[in-house]
Symmetry: C2
Subunit: 351 residues, 2 copies
DNA sequence: GCCCCATCTGAGATCGATTGCGATGGCTAA
DNA sequence: TTAGCCATCGCAATCGATCTCAGATGGGGC
């Protein structure tokens, strides 16, 4: 192997010189254009392959006014800590990477942390990508609304709010939470804590489902109570611990996410109580973790693989000029041991 | 708010016309160059901000011959299935995203699936990024060697092989595996299965540690045995199930990764045996899962956060022209219940 | 009043690939 | 022989920002 490697990366004009043609012809040959004679086309392609020539995608993108890449942005406005380690996000990321790669696009990952002054408009304006997937609304509903007014190829994973103009994909948060809380009520639980921060749209909708369940099962002794908690494991644990310490009485916890619910389980166990005997716990997401926890977590399943597919499908249709509506997927209650319920008849089985 | 938005995105020359100056001046003003008068500079910046102008990064990158982006490539040559959902990868990805974002760079995610004909040289040649992080060597040792010969800004997470010319970061796989297997031997286990595919460099090194432990504890009745298994949960489960079915006798399993080990636990439990009573299981990675499994998994911890930091640090030094050596981090045995060992004295405590 | 220098600004080349349009050459048909 | 046509190919403009170099402007010193 004695290929001579150039120090400076080869350009198309270099290949052209070697082949004794112009850059135009090389460009056409590599693109498989019928405008260049078949024999010459193969000759040029062979030469390019031998020399290890690869088209410079920056130049190509500038000329073609596209990037062949999708931005995936993760706003973390609600988080107090920086690292991107939430299993929900990483699972979603993996699925998105699959879908996007499969379509021959690159995936540009953007973590958005405070301060977040018009990050979205900047991202759009920079022309780094041909479309944007935002994972989670976080605190950015207003920014999304503003951007969506003039930028079409944008899809968002999250809750669907009334009078919202951007395109979302997500599960039916209200129905999912409703099922979860009715499940707890059906098991005889009377004082169910909502653990989470309803100012985040998705969580707000789950809180709505929580209240709806309480309203429907309007009995004496049913006392809704919210304990604010951010989405990270540590802050949720701390919030739960503090609440237990404040001598609040309760017999169930509905965590706004699995990470929150699992943290609650830890805090409850650490306080000497038992899950589900003393306190039943239900989460939301069904991250891979949930099934393997101790005890396995009852939760509301969001099919992230399907969600990622829908997001990417809608995005590409939008990139093609179509104007797609939002999509809501059904949320499914998965009953496991942490709620103490039987797994076959969610929400209906009374002891 | 009645900003008039242009349909076609603003260019620098548009701002220039509005400000009554040339594009050169706008460029300098936005770059904060002292060459342009302070008053005019601020005027131009204000105008640009009002109009929501953002520099087109494709054009800028072409001119500056850089991309302000890092490629993160994940070769999945050893995988039979496509999806990128392995917790090890997603955890690593999250940490890499943190480090890279923090330096003001974008992260370009590349999933590499078979057929993988010179993907690395193509990636390098395309000039999509200023540097490349490859997560896991998979089956691509040769490709990495070839590329590293002429391309410097490349770092690899994985095992450090003898006479290897590319720069790796990873834990001491041999020592880690050695500690894990000596731990099992110390607990009285005599027939320890190695579950994994040693043709992947990292796994090969772990197998080496496995054999070394057997050699050191050279007693009658110690029988090493390898059961090939790929890195996915399903294939590992299947391999373990098949082995159990073939009536092989064993009292311990060393899984080449946590995903493999957890699958082994599932297979063993499904076959009516108990972990750790009948079979002790140890994994490798200490993914977040491991601690919360049932039973919690004894494993060899790799500090991925630190690993990601080192990868990115070395990469940037290489991008700066430095020629950095590989780095090996210590691997730490974390004793939990799946091996039935006590957690304080790893590898020494005999019953 | 003149010249020089410091300070600022703009024209134009450049990064590397794509593509409309015109040019070239060979060949057929009148 | 010449017009006409088709198959190929190259010139040059273009995408949008950056930066060199040269030119413009104005103020101050003599």
């Amino acid at each position: 192997m004695n290929k001579k490697r150039r120090e400076t990366p080869a350009r198309m004009s270099d290949i052209a010189r070697l082949a004794g043609v112009s850059a135009s012809t090389v460009s056409r040959a590599l693109a498989g254009s019928p405008l260049v004679a078949a024999a010459k086309r193969e000759e040029i392609r062979r030469l390019a392959r031998e020399r290890g020539y690869v088209i410079n995608s920056t130049a190509r993108n500038l000329r073609l006014q596209r990037t062949q890449a999708i931005s995936v942005a993760i706003p973390l406005g609600h988080e107090t800590s920086q690292p991107l380690t939430d299993p929900f996000f990483t699972e979603m990321l993996g699925h998105l990477a699959d879908c996007i790669t499969q379509r021959g696009y690159g995936m540009f990952l953007q973590k958005i942390v405070p301060p977040m002054d018009d990050w979205l408009l900047r991202l759009i304006g920079s022309h780094k990508s041909d479309g944007i997937v935002v994972v989670g609304q976080s605190t950015e509903h207003a920014a999304l609304e503003e951007a969506a007014a003039s930028y079409k190829p944008l899809v968002v994973w999250g809750g669907h709010l009334p009078r919202q103009s951007y395109c979302t994909v997500g599960t039916d948060n209200v129905a999912g939470a409703l099922a979860a809380v009715e499940h707890l009520i059906g098991l005889g639980r009377r004082r169910i804590i909502f653990l989470g921060d309803p100012s985040v749209p998705e969580i707000g909708l789950r809180y709505e489902g929580y209240r709806l369940a309480h309203k429907r099962a309007d009995r004496v002794g049913l006392q809704p109570h919210i304990v604010p908690a951010h989405l990270t494991a540590d802050t949720a644990y701390e919030a739960m611990r503090a609440f237990i310490g404040s001598a609040g009485s309760f017999d169930a916890v509905f965590g706004a996410s699995d990470v929150i619910a699992l943290s609650a389980v830890r805090a409850i166990t650490a306080a000497g109580m038992s899950v589900p005997r003393d306190v039943a716990v239900v989460g939301y997401d069904d991250i891979a973790f949930a099934a393997h926890g101790n005890p396995p977590l009852t939760t509301v399943r969001q099919d992230l693989q399907r969600g990622a597919h829908m997001l990417v499908d809608l995005l590409f249709r939008r990139m093609g000029g179509e104007d797609t509506p939002s999509a809501t997927m059904p949320a499914e209650l998965i009953v496991r041991e942490s709620s103490g319920g039987r797994s076959d008849l969610p929400g209906v089985n009374r002891p």
